[in-house]
Symmetry: C2
Subunit: 419 residues, 2 copies
Amino acid sequence: MTSDPDLVTRRARLLGPNVPTFYDPPLHIVRGEGVWLWDAAGRRYLDAYNNVPHVGHCHPRVVEAIARQAAQLNTHTRYLHEVILDYAEALTARLGHDLSQVIMVCTGSEANDIALRMAEAVTGARGIVATDNTYHGNTTAVAALSTRRPPIGGRPDHVRLVPAPDALAPLGGSRDAQGAAFAAHVAAAIADLKAAGHGFAGLMLCPAFANEGLPDPGPGFLDDTVAVVRGAGGLILADEVQPGFGRLGTHFWGHEALGFAPDVVTLGKPMANGHPVGAVVARPQVMAAFREAFGYFNTFGGNPVSCAAAMATLRVIEDEGLQENARVVGDHLLGLLRGLSHPALADIRGMGLFAALEFHPDHAATCAAAVEGLARRGVLTGRVGRAQHILKIRPPMPFSRGNAAQLVETLEGVLGGLE
Amino acid sequence: MTSDPDLVTRRARLLGPNVPTFYDPPLHIVRGEGVWLWDAAGRRYLDAYNNVPHVGHCHPRVVEAIARQAAQLNTHTRYLHEVILDYAEALTARLGHDLSQVIMVCTGSEANDIALRMAEAVTGARGIVATDNTYHGNTTAVAALSTRRPPIGGRPDHVRLVPAPDALAPLGGSRDAQGAAFAAHVAAAIADLKAAGHGFAGLMLCPAFANEGLPDPGPGFLDDTVAVVRGAGGLILADEVQPGFGRLGTHFWGHEALGFAPDVVTLGKPMANGHPVGAVVARPQVMAAFREAFGYFNTFGGNPVSCAAAMATLRVIEDEGLQENARVVGDHLLGLLRGLSHPALADIRGMGLFAALEFHPDHAATCAAAVEGLARRGVLTGRVGRAQHILKIRPPMPFSRGNAAQLVETLEGVLGGLE
């Protein structure tokens, strides 16, 4: 594991304090290909964490699409261009529930920022419900829903957070009762928002509860909640930034896996394999209400290069069967992971190429040590959870059975050395 | 002038209503090079409007930098990488006033959204002042400062808008009194914010007042205002998205041309020649306060490809002498424009490669007809101003004397045919 003290010093000088890094010391990564990253010393790392390079680091088809379009034209959507329309057609063809109209933006944060305004435009209200252990982006409006760091002066009064699904401490006890318990919390939050005069605009959530630690509450979990939200006149905003584009294996979207029909879907990170692209997909009535109330123009959003990158990414997912790979390799990986044992391990779960090893919350240090130990042995993972006690596995989609074996063997070795 | 009714129909179906286009019918642009754009029928247009392709459409050095880095590595800033540091060093070397630390983001909107929070972090207050004829981006937080479309339920109470500088109706009458009059309005807005309990965080403005119609109030205009803002404990947030990177010719930044020292500078559109890149540059104390209060991570912001694109753009500006070109050609262009006459023309002004032909506000239709007429004759311009009565000229920076001559000759012909 190589780092570079000089880069750390320059970073602090040029980027300021508290800029997050992974691993201690942080890695100096210089090259990527497929599921592999290389550091400046030439050491190779198996990437079992990054979902942004969805079809693999530096996939040649995506690189070529970017290079070709960048050399031909890169301008805004106030001129007509085919590629945004071709992409919008290909994308919406993958979505049901009349989710047929698209705004292209540059980041998932921009997408979620719009989704909140869509709910506001449709309902005329501002009240938003989200879970109490989540993250939906970094703009002022969406950061207000984040539990990582409460805003100065406290959370805005039009935001209410409900207890997130939790695999170790499930709301409502039995699996069947969990959905009802979550819905009851949402109903209470809505009543509270209405009593406070904010009204209710919608519920925003990640259908895989990825930042909540991937609790996997199972299909149907949201049935009661959807009924509550619709009954209260609100919209359901599905943040598909993490689960979307086939990662869960069984389904192309998280909301399909969980089994509900969102009014708005937001997309980001993996959409264009690292090119800054995000999107909002909505029903025509929702889109019309937003456009009427707010207008919207995004200078870079939907430019031909961004759309070419997104289109190439989508085609590679299809042509290389990456959703099916996520299902097959994900199942295999989960089987291997379930063979691990360590006294601090509380739960092992996963959906496709998204897995969580939950340590007992008071053993977060063991989780941290495992992540560091893996990195020192050339395997990159991350942490999530209220206590950062959940080891997060979310590799690029071309992850193979061999990669899964390397990950689990390395993890076995690391865990064996940890108290 | 060719358009494509089929694309217009597909656009409405896939992107929804009220998605803005330029020109009637809108252009179907398929290729760009330098100051030129081509439509699907092969017709060539002189681009005298787009500032995003700052060093020229599809500049080969920028395209090559993007293609090379995209093939090598494109990941986030939680790993160490040189290119973000090299770029931050090169960028901050162009800025004075201790503006020495950088956050890289994807859009000018994201940059301004952060700048507002920086002011909040430093002051502990939320009150913001901006002009009443401006635009600082499309996130919820910065859209609240826009006068294009007031938010649902009215503008947030922590925002106060002051009368924008206006070339035809200058506040305070004489040129000397204008700055004092503007400062008095800012002082009143600050007092109002404090009385309402919001406190005062800062003043956000574009140092060229680009969206205000480029009124060119002259150096020193903000002297009194700066004293007022500092006296009230607020920050000065300079939105350099339009004037930055040498466009004004005499200076690399708008705040240098106007002669004041901002606390925060935000960057966007031209920064990476169309690649989705923006940035916030701040003093270390401001950065530290923001990082402490808000944290911040942007998945795509500062990735190696974005930084390579931004670095190549900066190098081309320097290597091709584009700031000096903006000064020389801009002066030449302004001289030619001042030779134009039409009864509806009220004022002709410019700074470098940024010019405004202001029509009498009740002759906005003439301005619209001029822009459409120019497009039909193969020259692209746009409109700005309270009544959209100002013809906006803001071409890519390699604009030549010959391009200027073509623009002005074509404009002369168009104006000659308009009542």
